[in-house]
């Protein structure tokens, strides 16, 4: 039986080190041939930071608000004319919305942290099904305050984002959306969640783009900047979120779900299992990482490592795409031996991708984080 652990695999890493850069094997210690902030004096990161914001981050959030708007539109039609066709259309609109969200999920910095926006958009993991209970309660009690964006946004973070909307569209009794009377509570609540997603997404865009916003914060670094004292720190943040997205996909979303065997697997731990968009979401998560390097320009600084990264992420997505084409419900698919095996294969290229982003690229660019600068304790 194949077993996987949450820890890195030294053998895989050693193998990758040999392939990618024999000189870079071993652990990263800050300050190796770099200055006190870890930056090589000749590197100018500012154009890369600007390009990353303009070509990767902001387009990602604009795509999210667009997809949420489309979702709102399809849901509105469903609410006005409940029927099977309109329900199917509204459910289909959720797929591009999942892709759009999964494309920005990794940007858990600045504007997304402010006012718990990340949690408002995506309350996951929800170990105790708090969101589910709260959403059901709203629907059961037909709480009118959930039908206005302003008041909905003041409610629990768990009832106004992607997973709340997923429950409305795909959860228990969702099929009644096609047969209920026009303007049913559940349907109107769904419309309002789609609006809330747009609003939160737009707030994030505004906080990036305003004159004193996060773009300025990232580009105008220095001693008086409350967040970034140097361009190096900005780059470290961009690499950190990329690394975390890969690690989260591997460890939290796949490994933690498939466990050691089909029998022990827990498919409902994964996000978007109700809509069967789990595999679609994962592919979008990983494409977003690649986009940051390719469109954002980070890849220009480390073309060889970026090629390796694209290879590892591509390998992973090939497996995920193959599974998605089988068109089997996620919770059944994970329980099948063959599919479980395929999912377990993704852990290997993901481990490699994580090593490239977490270790090799930071070392190459003199951007390694200190040992005690990792997730705080």
């Amino acid at each position: 039986m194949i077993t996987f652990s949450f820890k890195s695999k030294p053998n895989t890493r050693r193998h990758l080190s040999k392939i990618i850069s024999p000189a870079l094997a071993g652990i990263v210690i800050v300050g190796t041939a770099v200055n006190a902030w870890g930056q090589t004096p000749e590197t100018n990161f500012k154009p890369i930071i600007k390009q990353t914001i303009e070509k990767a981050i902001l387009p990602g959030y604009k795509n999210l608000t667009r997809a949420a708007k489309a979702q709102e539109s399809d849901l509105t039609k469903l609410c006005e004319q409940p029927n099977k066709e309109n329900l199917a259309k509204a459910q289909q609109a959720f797929r591009p919305l999942v892709a759009a969200w999964s494309g920005v999920e990794m940007y858990r910095i600045g504007p997304a942290i402010k006012n718990n926006r990340q949690e408002k958009l995506f309350f996951w993991p929800d170990r105790k099904s708090i969101g589910l209970r709260q959403v059901r309660k709203l629907i059961d009690t037909q709480d009118e305050t959930a039908l206005a964006t302003e008041t909905l946004q003041k409610k629990s973070v768990a009832v106004q984002g992607m997973l709340a909307l997923e429950y409305v569209l795909f959860g228990k009794n969702a099929e009644a959306l096609a047969t209920s009377k026009p303007k049913s509570y559940r349907c109107d609540y769904g419309v309002n969640i789609a609006k809330a997603i747009q609003t939160t997404g737009q707030e994030i865009i505004d906080d990036w783009a305003s004159p004193s916003g996060y773009t300025t914060m990232m580009l105008d670094t220095g001693p008086s900047n409350p967040i970034y004292r140097s361009d190096t720190e900005v780059m470290q943040d961009l690499l950190r979120i990329s690394s975390e997205m890969i690690q989260s996909t591997r460890d939290l979303k796949i490994l933690n779900t498939i466990k050691e065997s089909p029998e022990k697997s827990k498919p409902k731990r994964a996000p978007f299992w109700r809509s069967n968009q789990t595999l679609h979401a994962y592919q979008s998560n990983l494409k977003a990482v690649e986009t940051l390097f390719t469109q954002g320009g980070l890849g220009n600084l480390t073309s060889r490592h970026t090629q390796s990264l694209s290879f590892e992420l591509g390998q992973t997505n090939t497996f995920l795409m193959k599974l998605e084409k089988e068109n089997i419900a996620w919770e059944k698919q994970v329980k099948q031996t063959k599919s479980h095996e395929t999912l377990s294969f993704t852990l290997i290229p993901l481990e490699g991708a994580h090593y490239i982003v977490n270790d090799l690229i930071p070392e190459k660019l003199g951007l390694s984080l200190g040992f005690n600068s990792l997730d705080g304790d």
Partner: protein
């Protein structure tokens, strides 16, 4: 039974054999003993990615190190300095007991199933009991685990921490009151290091009676600070000093250090601007030997702040890259960093570029 050098010297001293006429020998022997005597304990990561706990003497010489299966965190030192207990970093489940008299591993123990350590603990004044901060993660409940040091550190009970995420707990000078910093963040090993309730966290300080586990007092942060996770503590005279990590908007100007005394509000130390560049994170808090100064490390910001414990004013800020650990020494503080340095008075007393010192260093002086 073999005696350690320290035990041997202690027994000689106790026997009164060292009369005045033998003073030169005694002085020499004490000096030599001193150089072998454990002064600091910290965990570290080695160049090959392995983890270890290391015992260092006053001069910065490595006395011995012991392998750890995973990353360690903080160390509790017994009052008589015989044992040091190294805890796993959350969500780890090991505690390793080092024998500082014989310079060797003593034993290892774990918390109950469905618990993990947060990485901190302390001994009772008589050294017979060890208290450890733990997460009863299925019930999302903070726990203070109690272990009998006289019976192979067997677990003999537990108290509530009266909050979520008890990161550090310390014993106040009365020997009775346990101060606990409940960071307020829910975590679960199924989602390692994932923070599960950032939107609803409620950090607070609880004071618990060591004799019966009853809650003596509790103080919460004002609502606007509810994302300041209170984590590390040290007691300075009549106040505890607390260091936090802020989980909210990173551009917010937040005081990361606070003080508290039972019956009062938690008071921020200095304005938010003082913490500019500290990256919203305090790694360790330590009081010097006479209680007059407090040191707080900010490893993400490469800074160490020294505060006057009475006036609460900032005395000075030191720059040390990736410095997480701080512990008292005879003259002030010893600081450890992720680049393999131990610092005293801005000079390195130990340097090994092949290691990275972990978040905390404990003093056995």
């Amino acid at each position: 039974m073999s005696l350690s050098r320290r035990e041997f010297l202690n027994r000689i001293a106790a026997s009164g054999v060292l009369a005045t006429g033998q003073l030169p020998f005694a002085s020499f022997a004490q000096a030599e003993a001193s150089s072998l005597q454990a002064a600091y304990v910290s965990t570290l990561r080695k160049a090959d990615g392995q983890y270890a706990a290391a015992v260092i003497d006053r001069s910065g010489n490595l006395i011995f190190q012991e392998h750890l299966d995973d990353r360690g965190h903080a160390t509790a030192i017994a009052p008589n300095k015989k044992f040091a207990v190294v805890f796993a970093r959350r969500p780890g489940r090991f505690a390793l007991v080092l024998d500082l008299f014989n310079n060797q591993r003593h034993l290892a123990f774990s918390p109950p199933l469905d618990h993990h350590f947060y990485g901190h603990g302390f001994f009772s004044p008589d050294g017979k009991l060890l208290y450890a901060t733990e997460n009863d993660y299925e019930n999302e409940r903070g726990i203070i685990g109690i272990y009998d040091t006289t019976n192979s550190f067997a677990r003999i009970g537990q108290y509530e921490s009266y909050g979520i995420g008890p990161h550090e707990a310390i014993l106040l000078s009365d020997g009775i009151t346990i101060a606990i910093s409940n960071g307020g963040i829910i975590t679960h090993p199924d989602y390692p290091r994932q923070k599960l309730n950032l939107a609803s966290m409620e950090p607070q300080i609880s004071y618990v009676d060591r004799r019966d586990g009853k809650l003596i007092a509790q103080s919460k942060l004002p609502y606007e600070y509810n994302q300041l996770s209170l984590r590390h503590m040290s007691a300075a005279k009549d106040h505890i000093w607390i260091g936090g990590q802020y989980e909210g908007d990173p551009s917010n100007s937040v005081s990361l250090v606070a003080t508290h005394r039972i019956g009062e509000e938690i008071k921020p130390v200095s304005g938010g601007q003082t913490y500019l560049g500290m990256k919203q994170y305090i790694g360790s808090v330590s009081v010097n030997i006479d209680g007059s100064l407090v040191a707080t490390t900010a490893p993400k910001g490469n800074k160490v702040a020294i505060w006057n414990s009475k006036t609460r004013e900032l005395v000075k800020t030191l720059s040390h890259v990736d410095a997480g650990g701080v512990a008292p020494n005879d003259r002030g503080f010893t600081i450890s960093d992720g680049q393999g340095n131990l610092w005293q008075d801005n000079k390195t007393i130990y340097h090994d570029p092949e290691i990275a010192w972990d978040n905390h260093i404990s003093s056995a002086i």
